[in-house]
Subunit: 329 residues, 2 copies
């Protein structure tokens, strides 16, 4: 393994010059630069990252801590982050906190140990509640989950608005008793719950909210119980995420109920299956890729301008009306 000294010797220059060329710093003559590049190629030299990091105390690595890697939403976000990172020759460490604050803390400490250049995080509720960017030795941007009291760079959907529009759509379609299944363990779930409540309040309707852990399995079990016990059935159910929506549809099958005839349905996340099933399902689509892209761009900006003013990107969900939300003629 060739070292920087070997390159210097081969090129007949000092290690400092080699270092400068490699770092793309000014103050090197074209001839020197040329010779160095030639020697680098000749020797197949690759800088030792460990040494570089030890010395410079900096890294080209970003951390991405998502709360559920199985959620297609986060996959899409990850892909966007990956794409931009690759284009900029940045490494990214993807971690799955799995909605577990302990895992989340562990990974955050790992990021500290790794001396990462920055982190993109979708925080759990406890984490968000005590979040202060000053607690971390690296820039951080929040994605998907944030609230108005937390001062942090963030990229989020306008969840209250989206849930409100979705619920209103149901109301306008003639539904009265509208239930809401949501993940109470995240800021996003809570905000969508708020939007749901607001829409109901505006119409003088009373809520039937059901909190649960935001997984397909949990939603399926909870929904099954709900559907078997709740008499009379509500007119409609809204799911606060694509995963919950999926569990809900499975539960409907399990108990032999049909939508929208027996009960109307709507939810979040425009996953492929929501338009493939019959009847197709009304959802709010999130600009997932765009959210990931915005997050890493925000992070890169923050890394370059640490003192920059806090920025928040709020994106709007798109209501896609399909057949599941309205009674059939």
């Amino acid at each position: 393994m060739a070292r920087i000294q070997d390159v210097a010797k081969h090129a007949g220059v000092s290690v400092a010059s080699v270092s400068r060329v490699l770092a793309g710093l000014p103050g090197v003559s074209d001839t020197t630069r040329e010779r160095v590049m030639r020697s680098v190629d000749a020797l197949g030299y690759r800088p030792d990252l460990a040494a570089r990091r030890l010395r410079s105390r900096r890294t080209d690595t970003l951390g991405l801590i998502v709360s559920d890697i199985r959620n297609p939403f986060f996959m899409e976000v990850s892909r966007a982050v990956e794409d931009v990172a690759y284009a900029n020759r940045l490494r990214v460490m993807l971690c799955n906190a799995d909605e577990d604050p302990d895992k989340e803390s562990f990974y955050l400490e790992m990021m500290r140990d790794e001396n990462v250049a920055g982190v993109i995080l979708s925080p759990t509720l406890p984490m968000l509640a005590r979040y202060k960017s000053a607690d971390y030795p690296f820039p951080m941007v929040l994605v998907d989950r944030c609230n108005s009291t937390v001062e942090a760079d963030a990229v989020v959907l306008d969840n209250v608005d989206a849930a409100m529009r979705l619920t209103r759509h149901l109301i306008e379609a003639g539904q009265r008793k509208i239930a809401f299944f949501y993940g109470a363990g995240s800021a996003t779930g809570q905000q969508r719950h708020d939007g749901y409540l607001a829409a109901l309040a505006g119409a003088g309707l009373s809520p039937i909210a059901q909190a649960l852990r935001p997984t397909v399995e949990e939603a399926r079990v909870v929904a099954r119980n709900f559907l078997e016990r709740q008499k009379p059935l509500p007119d409609a159910i809204v799911a606060s995420s694509g995963l919950i929506l999926l569990g809900l549809v499975e539960a409907l099958r399990d108990v032999g109920l049909r939508y929208p005839d027996d009960i109307a349905l709507a939810g979040f996340d425009d996953m492929p299956w929501t338009r493939l099933v019959t009847p197709a399902i009304t959802v709010v689509a999130q600009p997932t890729y765009e959210m990931g892209r915005a997050a890493i761009e925000l992070l890169r900006a923050r890394i370059q301008q640490p003192e920059q003013v806090v920025r928040r990107v709020v994106l709007r969900g798109e209501l896609i009306v399909r057949e599941s939300s309205s009674p059939r003629k």
Copy 2:
């Protein structure tokens, strides 16, 4: 940031003793160990990874290079790898090669630069064709994609067998003209193609194979063209992956064809939507999580026993017969 010297001073011992305690090496008295641990806690000391790596030339980081991060199959694999890595306090760098050999090479070089302890890779075809484990300075295990000529630790499905069983099932269900849509750019696609051909040959039937890039969008477009041009239509179409299957179903919608009445359908990957759509779709389910788990276990074993004999884990797909594959009564 406390350094090892600070701990040594605080504990009234030498840095060497601290290092020994931290590494869990023998040759340290219990009292010294005790004092060191206490000081570590008191100072909140965390070893500097960059320094440790520079000195030891080793890393606790694994690389995971998947060929398509959007494919639920690889998500599940990633999750398994994540889980095991977390349990063993290993870091993992997840990279998305996106079926692009250049990206793949870039990430492999990055792994070398990072001095990772090992890599899990789902190789592109060109990569697999020239693959020699000796070309890489780290242990590597292949996942999802491998062939019998390559000598490498690997975890794969028995693709030929699975495709054969799937195709035979179609034949037994009375289908005669059976088309096959597959990703020719991967070993997996090719092997499934082989299985398909074998099953047809066994029944004296002739193949209608269609190679394509293995994405939903591509499959949708190709299938749409195929369905509009191909007259008469085949009796059935088999998709070599979940993504292709999805595009196929969308194309069927696009051109207003119904399955299994107009054309039967079957494919790979037991994704949630395949049982949610009506009619539900016949598939071969892959033990995805298990494949990821096996891959990282293989890698860990190889890291600990570099000279161990090459091992290959071949898993069997599970045929799940649903309504899409048989003509309705």
